[in-house]
């Protein structure tokens, strides 16, 4: 059994899902979400994240396994009795109702009195700063305004759990960033548990308490954003989250917290063994571009260095982005902060690059 601590509000216990009886879309999902937590399911399309959300909402049934909400199995509870708020990708605001009617709908079906309804609708609209729009129709609102109404509608009946299915996908960049902030602020102020599905890793990193990275029907890693970024557990996560340099090689020496990897062109590098088991294993090492260093005074004593040829220098304002040829690959990226003492490398130059061994992670091949 999974560890069901006292604060586990939502629990997926060995959940599997298949649509066609031949392939599993979700393979053995175990996940427990604490009360008040903001958890994001992140992954490429087809990774099973939306299916998990739909199972939680009750629109899909789990082929195997249990889903628990506040300690209760909800596999056989129909969606309308689960009391879970949901924000849909296309907002799904009822087009034939005004904004106020849309918000009053969940209260009406719960048979609340008229004055109660009006008070709650007003409070919910004020909460998303849309108090003046109560009598508008959804079609008369902009995308961002519709998004706010959809959010207010999902919250107006005070659910303890809110699900969001790529709610910001249709908005432009600036509005999206603003809404990211709004949603996290609301979720934390109200203390509601939120499960958020997205394929946008920036969104996942900036909004969540924890991120579950999905691929191929499994959770690849479940961690807070900083851990996820700095300590990816496998190549998929390293590649999917943020920008990443990946070099292939074979493990030469393996200690408890350091390893020596020989790259395919013969170069040697120091790494931290994460996902390698023995000497001779194939591995992909992962280094974040901003952890790559080329100035000799910053290297450790006795560190292994690699030769790199500068291919391109891109000025991006706050950072310099340099594309290098390293170990036979010409897509190796190095990012340096635009500081007064920073050197602008020129194409054709050759430099030695290196890094702290703990920043270079030897992962699965």
């Amino acid at each position: 059994m999974l560890d069901q601590g006292s604060d586990a509000f939502v629990v997926f216990d060995k959940v599997q899902k298949s649509y066609d009886g031949q392939t599993l879309v979700v393979k053995d999902l175990n996940l427990s979400i604490g009360k008040g937590e903001f958890l994001t399911m992140l992954g490429p399309s087809g990774s099973g994240k939306t299916t998990c959300l739909m199972m939680l909402a009750g629109f899909e049934t789990a082929t195997h396994g249990d889903i628990l909400l506040d300690g209760q199995g909800i596999n056989n509870i129909p969606p309308h009795k689960r009391g879970i708020g949901m924000v849909f990708q296309n907002y799904a605001l009822f087009p034939h109702m005004t904004v106020a009617e849309n918000l009053a709908f969940p209260l009406e079906v719960r048979k609340l009195g008229k004055s109660d309804r009006e008070a709650k609708v007003k409070r919910a609209l004020d909460m998303v700063q849309m108090g003046d729009f109560a009598s508008r129709r959804p079609a008369q609102l902009s995308g961002g305004q519709q998004q706010r109404i959809a959010l207010a509608r999902a919250l107006v009946f005070e659910p303890e759990l809110v699900l969001m299915d790529e709610p910001l996908g249709a908005l432009d960049k600036q509005l999206r960033e603003h809404m990211q902030f709004e949603i996290t602020r609301l979720a934390h102020n109200l203390g509601i548990t939120t499960v958020y599905v997205t394929h946008d890793q920036t969104e996942a990193l900036t909004m969540s308490d924890r991120v579950a990275v999905f691929n191929d029907g499994r959770i690849q890693q479940l961690d807070p954003p900083d851990t996820l970024y700095e300590e990816p557990k496998n190549s998929f996560v390293a590649q999917f989250i943020g920008e990443n340099n990946s070099l292939e090689g074979t493990v030469k020496e393996l200690n408890s917290d350091t390893a020596l990897v020989q790259l395919d062109d013969g170069g040697l590098i120091d790494c931290k063994p994460v996902n390698v088991k023995q000497v001779g294993d194939r591995t992909k090492v992962s280094i974040r571009p901003e952890r790559v260093e080329y100035r000799s005074e910053r290297f450790q004593e006795g560190a292994h260095l690699l030769k790199a040829e500068v291919l391109e220098f891109i000025y991006m304002g706050d950072v310099f982005r340099t594309r290098l040829r390293v170990a036979g690959r010409d897509d190796f990226i190095m990012k340096c902060r635009n500081a007064p003492d920073q050197i602008r490398l020129k194409p054709g130059e050759t430099v030695n690059i290196g890094w702290m061994p703990e920043d270079c992670r030897a992962l699965d091949a």
Binding site: H80, K81, F88
Partner: protein
């Protein structure tokens, strides 16, 4: 100072194009060629529609009020009769009869008096034979010497002394008449203006009422039967729904006559359905159900025939409704029924409206099916129109009935636009 202000002041009057002509005129010139070309493209269709649709309809509508035949055939009589007091109880004087003799003599030469007779016979039965008989006699008279004519006319037929005959001639002497329209609503022109016909001669109002009620029944049963099918079409997986769509469209590819005859075979008393019911034991052999040659037969057959016109608009509307609306409603706490009734159904109303307008308007003017399976109680007003066009040859009355039918359809259309809004109709 004053110089700069005049230079900077906005131009008054029309905006000018670069060459100094007013902008709107040069725009119109630029667009003229385009408009002309567009007109040329639609010209064949436009001419076709004008010649085969608009002109015949206009002609028929004109026939429903046209009544030149009396004043053309009896010009002198009409003038002489103008002073006669139709509300009194004396027939017209000798001058009128002299004029009538002159008119009938010419008419008999040209053989138009029988036509007039049958026209006036619609209004006052018996006038056809009166004119035919008189024509034969009057031809032989000498207008100079044979007077006075009153006696002679009364000798031919004493009906010439009947006030009603003269009233009819006077009433229908203007070149246009409301008589056909009055007849179409079971009224007639009496001495004191329009009045209802005697109870036993009223048929058209009843027929109009029946046509409307049955069309309404057909529309409602189409909604009831079509809604679930349209829902299935919109929600089944692609392959299944394509197959279903073919089944829905299949009737379109079969002759109307074949489909109607098929219903005859199914519904008649010795037909398939009755046989099965008897075999099961639901109905005893001597109490077979009467399902054809009555209103039920017409409603069943026409519902079947018009069903695709209801399903297709509904389907196209339902297809555009995102399934996430239903999910949203359920996630907000609505039961399946509430989600359907409060969220899904209101969004399908435009489709129901479009289908209903289509089916109702088609049904109200339907002819073949009621004629074949309607018997005597299930016929429509259109069957009566056809009777007047091809059997009784009273085209004026047929045109008036058709005109009223057209007006009824337009009124329904207007009412629909007012209460539902024609912009809400989606045909696909």
């Amino acid at each position: 100072m004053s110089d700069t202000t005049t230079d900077d002041s906005p131009q008054t009057g029309p905006v000018l194009a670069a060459d100094g002509t007013p902008l709107h005129r040069s725009l119109a010139r630029a667009l003229r060629r385009q408009k002309l070309r567009a007109l040329m493209l639609i010209a064949p269709l436009l001419i076709f529609i004008i010649v085969t649709f608009i002109l015949p309809v206009a002609d028929m509508l004109y026939r429903s009020v046209e009544n030149g035949i009396v004043s053309e055939t009896l010009p002198r009589t009409v003038v002489a009769l103008a002073d006669w007091d139709a509300s009194g109880d004396t027939p017209p004087d000798e001058a009128v009869f002299a004029a009538l003799a002159a008119d009938i003599q010419i008419a008999a030469e040209e053989k138009t008096h029988t036509k007039l007779g049958s026209r006036l016979n619609y209004e006052n039965p018996g006038m056809s034979s009166l004119f035919r008989k008189s024509g034969r006699q009057v031809k032989r008279w000498d207008l100079e010497t044979d007077g006075p004519f009153m006696e002679k006319f009364l000798d031919i037929d004493e009906d010439w002394g009947d006030i009603d005959v003269w009233r009819t001639i006077q009433t229908y002497s203007p070149a246009t008449t409301s008589g056909y329209y009055l007849a179409a609503v079971d009224m007639q022109l009496g001495a004191d203006g329009p009045e209802m016909r005697p109870e036993n001669e009223r048929i058209y109002l009843k027929l109009f009422g029946r046509t409307l009620m049955m069309s309404l029944a057909i529309t409602l049963s189409c909604i009831a039967l079509g809604y679930p099918v349209a829902w299935l079409l919109a929600n089944l997986p692609m392959r299944t729904s394509n197959l279903l769509m073919i089944l829905v469209l299949l009737p379109f590819w079969t002759s109307l006559l074949v489909r109607t005859s098929a219903w005859k075979i199914l519904l008649q008393q010795q037909g398939v359905i009755n046989d099965i019911l008897v075999w099961i034991g639901l109905v005893s052999d001597d109490a077979r159900l009467v399902m054809i040659n009555n209103q039920l037969g017409t409603i069943i057959a026409m519902t079947h025939i018009l069903l695709p016109f209801m399903i297709l608009p509904m389907y196209s509307v339902m297809q555009s409704i995102n399934p996430s609306y239903l999910r949203a409603a359920k996630s907000l706490g609505a039961t399946d029924w509430t989600a359907f009734w409060r969220v899904y159904f209101p969004q399908t109303v435009p489709g129901i409206g479009a289908g209903s307008i289509l089916v109702f308007i088609l049904a109200i003017g339907y002819y073949i099916t009621p004629a074949l399976v309607g018997g005597t109680t299930g016929t429509f007003i259109s069957n009566r129109i056809a009777f007047h066009i091809s059997t009784s040859l009273n085209w004026g009355l047929a045109a008036a009935l058709g005109g009223i039918l057209l007006a009824v359809v337009l009124v329904f259309y207007w009412a629909y636009d007012k209460f539902v809004g024609i912009d809400n109709v989606k045909l696909g």
